[in-house]
Subunit: 239 residues, 2 copies
DNA sequence: TATTGTGAACCGGTTCACAGCG
DNA sequence: CGCTGTGAACCGGTTCACAATA
């Protein structure tokens, strides 16, 4: 039943048996969301066609994505919503909790701290950091705001896994370096700069300004046919 | 074979018929940022190698990306920072201004409204919308908060180009539909759902929750925690 | 029969080697 | 001689056709 990344086999997961396309990981997140939604409607089974339509991708894509990790469906019938949901949670590492810290308590940092879905998905806000003494000492969503000088200690003590970087562009790379040195292995970078880190650390950019500028390109480009991303057609299997 | 580069200064009518990879567009944004930064340091010329290093990509990639649009460099020497900057701005459609509206005045919507770089890049906040009567009537960063019922009228009157969707997941698709019907052609979707739109509308997702979950996957994957009994091969994989 | 699972073809983007030019 | 510009090879991800099977 429990199929782990790629072929199960014995021994610990260790190395990557198969390289998972980054795009696939992103779609798995989408599938999981859809399954959660669908489950709330009391639906217990779903086909790859139906799932694909809601995710705005092809049914082939859905099946291929899932196939990287095992066989979760039933031929003839589709997938059991509850069990596939569980599987995806396991695959995505969402069946455990993660300790997160927010570095940079500006408007965005504060907005994130208050975001209710964080805790819901077991991303536990454990600490915040800021240079401004004015902000240090406050408690937001149950977490303390520390001075950045204390970052190393606090990150180590609280075993922070992931840092949410919401500092100004200039401060992003230094902050990332410090977080990494203190043991963080995941960085969600909201700053509008490229942040680099050693290979064992994963950096995910969340760059709305860049998104805005990509939009600008496409609108400016006027009649150019849609490039990527835009669904445009949600065709399933050709009849 | 025939490649009609959209060269020719930063003229407006530069809609080329070449398919630009979405990833390329994203990198152009990065290059432009780097050039702006570099220019502030008084540097006037830069090579593809140097640019590529700061953007964390290969030099081949930089040259190929630029080649989609023309030849902006000087062989032997590199690129003139100022002029390449100008070119990229033109290509990305950043030499004109765009009218934007924020739909959903929660914490995130408000944080975005106060973001100073918006105006700096000529994304002009013209209106905000919310269902909450409590919020309607306020003025944030010089823009009025309207009831969502008025969305169609206001979007049309103010010629809004881009909608920033900062509403809850359930409200995202309906809000997008209304914005599109009123003439918006670009949507920056912050809600954690797939939003679809007709082909002439471009949707860019900015999904930090998804980013967090992708991080979770990678950390989970690399993690070989198993408090003990981890068969050899403890090395992290290279790039 | 309906729908999943998958090897193989296909396509697009990245990498490369080198031609072109200052 | 150095660095850009680009046709071509390469590679990874998507698409597809079909075999497997409940």
């Amino acid at each position: 039943m429990i199929k782990r990344p790629a072929k199960g086999a014995s021994g610990a997961g260790a190395h990557d048996e198969r390289r998972i396309p980054n795009a696939t990981v992103g779609r798995l997140v989408t599938y999981l969301r859809i399954l959660d939604r669908v489950r709330q409607d009391g639906i217990e089974r779903i086909s790859s066609a139906e799932l694909s339509e809601r995710a705005a991708v092809s049914a082939f894509q859905v099946r291929k994505d899932l196939a990287y990790f095992g066989s979760f469906g039933t031929r003839g019938a589709g997938y059991a919503v509850a069990s596939l949901s569980k599987e995806l949670e396991g695959i995505l590492g969402l069946s455990r909790s993660w300790n997160v810290a927010i570095v940079g308590v500006g408007r965005l940092g504060e907005a994130l701290a208050h975001y209710p879905h964080l805790e819901r998905y077991r991303f536990l806000l454990r600490a915040l950091f800021d240079v401004d003494p004015e902000k240090v000492g406050r408690t937001i969503s149950g977490a303390h705001v520390h001075p950045v000088d204390r970052l190393a200690d606090v990150v180590r003590d609280l075993r922070i896994d992931i840092a949410l970087l919401t500092v100004p562009a200039d401060a992003a790379q230094p902050a990332a370096d410090r977080a990494v040195a203190a043991g963080v292995t995941g960085i969600l970078n909201f700053a509008p700069v490229v942040v680099t880190a050693p290979p064992h650390v994963h950096v995910e950019p969340v760059d709305f300004l860049a998104g805005l500028k990509r939009l600008s390109f496409h609108l400016h480009d006027a009649d150019a046919p849609a490039v990527d991303v835009v669904p445009g057609d949600a065709r399933a299997e050709p009849a």
